[in-house]
């Protein structure tokens, strides 16, 4: 290579680069950043190289950087002369041959093609690729890229980072050349100031001002330093910038060197980034060969050179004074400021330190001017910022967005929302110096000021998304553990304060904490923040202070209830399944017992945890399935069907009486206390069962004629046969529970009477009022609420519904109503305003409904019900909806369109949700929430009236069976504690010998699925659809359990 010394040789390099970027033959670029390599990009590259060689193809191969869409790696781009550049995704080495074959014939494999680029704005130049492939979307139409503005990442993934010519071809070093020729250095500093460029390392100090300080310092041996010690866990934009486009960094630094009169520069890179070090070293060598670095930059007589220094794994070295100490060969301990590095930095010389990403903005500003730069971003935060979107989010990767973009755009529009069916609850910005921002604040614009107001910081731009499976106490603990171990130990607040804070947080995650410590933690955090020497200590408490502010209830859960809802703090849970179960069933125990053939012991284990195991074995929403660790290997253990098998095997057999006696033997001695339960639904039955076992006298008051609540009256026979439920109720009755049917609380027996006659009362009357939709035509005949319909069918008073039925809603009641209508000989159509995946109903039930012939019509909102003059229903008119903006539940809001359609029908079932009976609630005199549900203490379930407890749907609003039962169980425990003054609940469940269910290695077999009736058979009768596991299946399924309850 010959040095570039004039415009002629500069242009020659540019043409050479262009010939590589757009050769006469097709070019294939493989994304070879570290992410790409981690996904197999090297194998892909090798496969291409070998195939090209073997077949002697005239196709050029290049290793390019990363295009940012990490979740789609390996990414490959293909350019056929005259055509757009096409991005292929998820390319494997096995695809190489067919890609080459297609490209050779001018085609692109359609299954791999993701999007196309017809023209690319490198900011420093525009590169036209060509038009064509009309079937492919433009890159900017892909949700992940939509709205991104690539200034910093302008070259990443498109050019070869190892080839300076390609960089020059896309306008590289042109800004430097211009600055050198203009030779008005002070103008450039003014431009950087006017562009309002702020430090991208996190603190956001004005870059132009820093440069001005350095320019004014007259010491001849001053320094420029690039801080590439990117240590924030969760942030990797600097790595990617250097790996994909190292010359942009050099160009920014050289410009700064010239305009501030500095001749020596250092890049301090993390040693954990070997590829970045390698590419940067290569870039520096090439720049020296071209005379872009060295004694006379671009032949203009300016001296400038760059050295690389590798860090050695110390987070604190990201702090500028610590970084300087490290460069000087000392431990990286920060020094007090002043003196600031601008006055006394490396070796006592004036030093200017900027973050990697800051440097990438320099060439564009120098070339296009400050006015162009400030067009992007918000008023006080100009330009863009690169963020790494990682954690529990579907589309992971690097995104460059204008500053001021709302958080929810990142999370939902670009990120595509949560992983699987988990809902997102927070995003952590700014790494260990930042904070956690809750879902409710996702409207927040992301810029320096707004994030600071929320107690977080922009930091280096890491965005780690947390979902319901992440525990915020654990996250706070995690960050403190990190900063604690990275604290340099120089100043007391950070060294000792973080140690104490970690102690407290460790206690919380182990269930050993109290409210006084919570206050202490807050005080400690403020002290550390206000008195530490450097940025590490000053910001280290942010993750704790923000979680305390926004997630206080999670701390309360850990401290008061000793529970970690996310199931992360394993000292607080037996196993993930137990933790997720509203009844906290000891699932590993019954699986272990059944595996050893101990069916009766297994039943005892099950029934003591869950008095309705056969019913819940059929209708539970099975949250355990979502938390099972086996899920990460193949599929969750089918816990629900196993406990159904265990329950059925006893309840429906002649062992019933013997087992009932065995359970009754566990009853504690009579206490002489009288308790009442209002409502014999799942919550009430559960509370009654435990109160009886605890030795209390229990009377259940129920308005209907039989027990079971929604289980009996809302869940159809084909899902839960009544004779199964009856056995469970019988078992509860034999524990000594008395039932008073036809006795609605308030009208037949008043709260006052209950208060007088009983020592404690549990209110669990459920939500039996169907929400009414305000829809023209609801007054017509044959418009019926789902609950009323299902209840009528269950009690035998409704036997027909019409020939064609439309069901409005998407919950379990809607699906149950539609399938029941089908069994009455009707055609059924479910009309739902959102999409299938957003239906609250249990997925298996929706699938079953569809198999049976229920029609599903999505994105349809009811408009009006059309009747005939006789008052009969003729049709349901619907407005088609489209999905609009994301709401705060992470779902997109349905927005009505102008399109109206008709569903011909002669009956309409409304299943839009159930609410509490407001007349009852208001009449009770208890404190209520706006929606009519009772206000209770979150931990004790006490209402505003002494002695009165409440649980189930009356406090949560319509929910599901298992959640209601969980409240019933908790209420019984708390009522007993209040009545007896001691904690006795755990006495009920003891006596199992752990050696009888010892852990054994899990088997590799697949998840066992219960047999089902054929769809055609199902609709002819009320026969139960899911037949259940066989003995062999159930036993095999038990062997799949990984036994998370066993601790080393």
């Amino acid at each position: 290579m010959t040095p570039i010394a004039d415009i002629g040789s500069f242009n020659a390099a540019r043409e050479a680069g262009m010939a590589k970027l757009q050769p006469a033959a097709p070019r294939i670029g493989v994304g070879m950043g570290t992410c790409g390599r981690g996904n197999g990009a090297e194998e892909v590259y090798r496969a291409f190289a070998e195939a090209i060689e073997a077949h002697g193809l005239d196709i050029r191969l290049a290793a390019v950087g990363c295009f940012g869409a990490c979740s789609e790696e390996p990414l490959v781009n293909v350019w056929i002369p005259g055509q757009p550049l096409v991005i292929l995704r998820h390319v494997h080495s096995a695809d190489a041959a067919r890609i080459l074959a297609d490209v050779h014939q001018g085609r692109i494999p359609p299954d791999l093609a993701w999007c196309k680029i017809e023209e690319w704005d490198h900011i420093t130049a525009r590169i036209r690729y060509g038009a064509g492939f009309p079937e492919l979307p433009q890159w900017s139409e892909i949700p992940f890229f939509h709205g991104q503005k690539k200034i910093v990442l302008r070259n990443c993934g498109l050019i070869s980072p190892d080839d300076i010519d390609e960089y020059i071809a896309v306008g590289g070093y042109q800004a430097l050349y211009k600055v050198l020729i203009d030779s008005r250095p002070e103008m450039v500093i003014e431009q950087v100031k006017a562009a309002k460029l702020r430090g991208r390392g996190g603190a956001g100090y004005a870059t132009g001002l820093k440069w001005e300080f350095l320019a004014k310092a007259k010491d001849p041996s001053k320094y420029i330093v690039c801080n590439a010690d990117e240590g924030d866990p969760g942030a990797y934009m600097n790595r990617n910038e250097i790996e994909s486009d190292p010359h942009s960094l050099l160009e920014g630094m050289i410009i700064c060197g010239y305009v501030t009169g500095t001749q020596q520069a250092i890049v301090y890179v993390r040693a954990e980034y070997p590829l970045a070090v390698h590419r940067l070293t290569r870039a520096v060598e090439q720049a020296r060969e071209y005379g872009i670095l060295g004694p006379s930059v671009l032949g203009r007589g300016v001296k400038f050179d760059i050295e690389l220094v590798e860090g050695a794994g110390a987070f604190v070295c990201g702090e500028e004074t610590a970084l300087i100490a490290s460069l000087e060969g000392f431990s990286g301990r920060p020094r007090p400021r002043p003196p600031f590095p601008a006055q006394k930095g490396l070796d006592g010389k004036p030093t200017n330190i900027n973050n990697v990403e800051t440097w990438y903005n320099i060439a564009p500003i120098a070339l296009k001017g400050p006015a162009w730069f400030t067009e992007t971003g918000s008023a006080r935060s100009a330009g863009t910022k690169v963020f790494s979107l990682v954690g529990k989010i579907r589309n992971t990767g690097l995104v460059e967005m204008p500053l001021g973009t709302p958080l929810k755009t990142f999370i939902y529009d670009i990120g595509g929302g949560g992983v699987g069916e988990c809902s997102i609850k927070a995003v952590q910005t700014g790494g260990p110096s930042g904070g956690c921002i809750p879902l409710e604040m996702f409207d927040t614009p992301v810029d320096y000021e707004t994030l600071a107001q929320l107690g977080s910081i922009m930091g280096s731009g890491g965005m780690v998304v947390m979902d319901e499976n992440n525990c915020m106490v654990d996250i706070a603990r995690y960050f403190i553990e990190f900063t604690h171990s990275e604290s340099c130990g120089k100043c007391v607040p950070c060294r000792v304060g973080l140690d104490k804070a970690l102690d407290v947080l460790n206690g919380f995650t182990k269930g050993a904490g109290n409210s006084a410590q919570l206050a202490l933690l807050d005080e400690l955090g403020r002290m550390i923040r206000d008195t530490s020497l450097c940025g590490l200590g000053q910001t280290a408490p942010n993750p704790v202070l923000t979680t305390l502010r926004h997630f206080r209830y999670e701390f309360d859960d850990h401290i008061i209830a000793r529970r970690c809802r996310a199931g992360v703090c394993d000292s607080l849970a037996l196993s993930p399944c137990e933790n997720s179960c509203p009844l906290h069933m000891n699932i590993p125990r019954f699986l272990g017992l059944l595996k050893r053939g101990r069916l009766e012991d297994a039943f005892e284990s099950v029934i003591l945890d869950n008095p309705l195991p056969a019913s819940t074995g059929r209708v539970c929403q099975h949250p355990c399935d979502m938390r099972c660790r086996r899920l990460t290997m193949d599929a969750a253990v089918n816990m629900r069907d196993v406990h159904r098998f265990i329950a059925d095997s006893i309840l429906l057999s002649d062992h019933f009486d013997a087992m009932v006696a065995r359970v009754a033997d566990r009853k504690l001695p009579p206490t002489g206390k009288k308790t009442a339960v209002a409502g014999a639904g799942p919550a009430g039955l559960t509370a009654a069962f435990y109160l009886a076992l605890l030795g209390h006298d229990v009377t259940v008051f129920e308005s209907k004629r039989e027990a079971g609540g929604m289980l009996r009256y809302a869940i159809p026979e084909y899902r839960l046969p009544k004779h199964v439920l009856e056995r469970e109720v019988e078992l509860i009755r034999r524990m000594g529970v008395k039932f008073e049917f036809g006795m609605p609380v308030s009208s037949a027996i008043s709260l006052h009477d209950l208060d007088e006659q009983f020592d404690a009362v549990f209110l669990s009357i459920g939500t039996w009022k169907e929400s009414w939709v305000h829809l023209p035509g609801t007054e017509l005949k044959n418009v019926i609420p789902a609950l009323l319909f299902l209840e009528g069918v269950a009690s035998g008073s409704v036997s027909q519904i019409g020939r064609r039925v439309a069901v409005i809603g998407g919950g379990n009641a809607a699906v149950d109503a539609a399938r029941t209508a089908l069994r009455m000989g009707a055609d059924a159509t479910i009309v739902y305003r959102r999409e299938r995946k957003e239906m609250p109903a249990i997925k298996e039930e929706v699938d079953a409904a569809e198999h049976e012939g229920v029609k599903l019509q999505f994105l349809s909102a009811p408009h009006r019900i059309v009747g005939d003059p006789k008052g009969n229903v003729r049709a349901l008119e619907i407005v088609k909806t489209r999905l609009g903006e994301y709401d705060l539940t992470g779902r997109r809001k349905p927005v009505p369109t102008a399109e109206v359609a008709r569903v011909e029908c002669d009956a309409v079932i409304l299943a839009v949700g159930e609410t509490i009976d407001l007349d009852f609630a208001r009449g009770s005199g208890l404190t209520l929430r706006e929606n009519g549900t009772f206000v209770v203490d979150r931990f004790t379930l006490e209402t505003s009236r002494p002695k009165f407890y409440a649980g189930g749907d009356v406090i949560t609003g319509a929910s599901n069976v298992s959640n209601a039962m969980g409240y019933g169980k908790k209420a019984a425990r708390r009522m007993d504690e209040a009545l007896m003054g001691v904690k006795r609940f755990q006495r009920l469940s003891g006596g199992f010998d752990a050696s009888e269910y010892e852990a054994e290695p899990a088997t590799e077999i697949a998840r066992q699925r219960p047999a089902e009736l054929a769809p055609a058979m199902r609709v002819k009768s009320d026969a139960e659809v899911v037949v259940g596991l066989t003995r062999g299946q159930a036993s095999a399924e038990c062997g799949r359990c990984l036994r998370c309850d066993v601790r080393a």
Binding site: R239, Y268, E310, V390, V464, M633
Partner: protein, 181 residues
């Protein structure tokens, strides 16, 4: 903090001395030279650590107080003062990896390799555990910057992303097989 267990008195062998001399000659006068020298010497050691004799030799040759050398080698996570195993497995404990279950990986790996002592609290950083037979070393790293592949494990310099416990166990088995051959 670990201090060298094998205090080897005297000078390193002549070959090592020559190597160290060469490294020092190349780096003297450059900023950050001490870190670079220590990194190069450690990399040159077959057991990837800095032994006491090497440290003393570097101190003498660079005219650096031995206390400063110890301060630096105990401060930075990269330096090892104990011999490392044949295979080094790094578990990334970055935020994204943590959120995606890297603590479980660390725990299962520790059990798999039969390392008894449990790290205090799941070791966010700076954890080094070597099996008694010297075959494996488990280390944690603050963040690899491979967050999109979380959870990430590096096995002998090879990055593996999206690992679960079973896949990690398989990878470790493969390394064991290598040992046997």
């Amino acid at each position: 903090m670990t201090l060298p267990t094998a205090v080897t008195p005297g000078k390193p062998d002549p070959e090592k001395c020559a190597f160290i001399d060469g490294v020092i000659a190349r780096s003297t006068g450059r900023p950050g030279s001490l870190l670079g020298i220590l990194e190069a010497v450690q990399e040159n050691n077959p057991r990837k650590y800095l032994c006491s004799s090497e440290l003393r030799y570097i101190a003498a040759k660079t005219n650096t107080p031995l206390s400063q050398i110890f301060s630096v080698t105990t401060f930075y996570a990269l330096f090892n003062l104990e011999p490392q195993g044949d295979h080094t497995i790094y578990i990334c404990r970055g935020t994204a990896c943590h959120a995606r279950g890297s603590r479980n990986l660390l725990e299962s790996l520790r059990l798999d390799l039969g390392i008894k002592e449990a790290p205090d609290e799941g070791g966010a950083d700076k954890l080094t555990l070597t099996t008694p037979d010297g075959k494996f070393t488990i280390r944690t790293v603050a963040c690899f910057g491979q967050c999109a592949l979380a959870p990430v494990v590096e096995l002998d310099h090879r990055i593996c992303g999206h690992l679960n416990e079973r896949a990690l166990a398989r990878e470790v088995d493969a390394l064991r097989q290598e040992n046997h051959q």
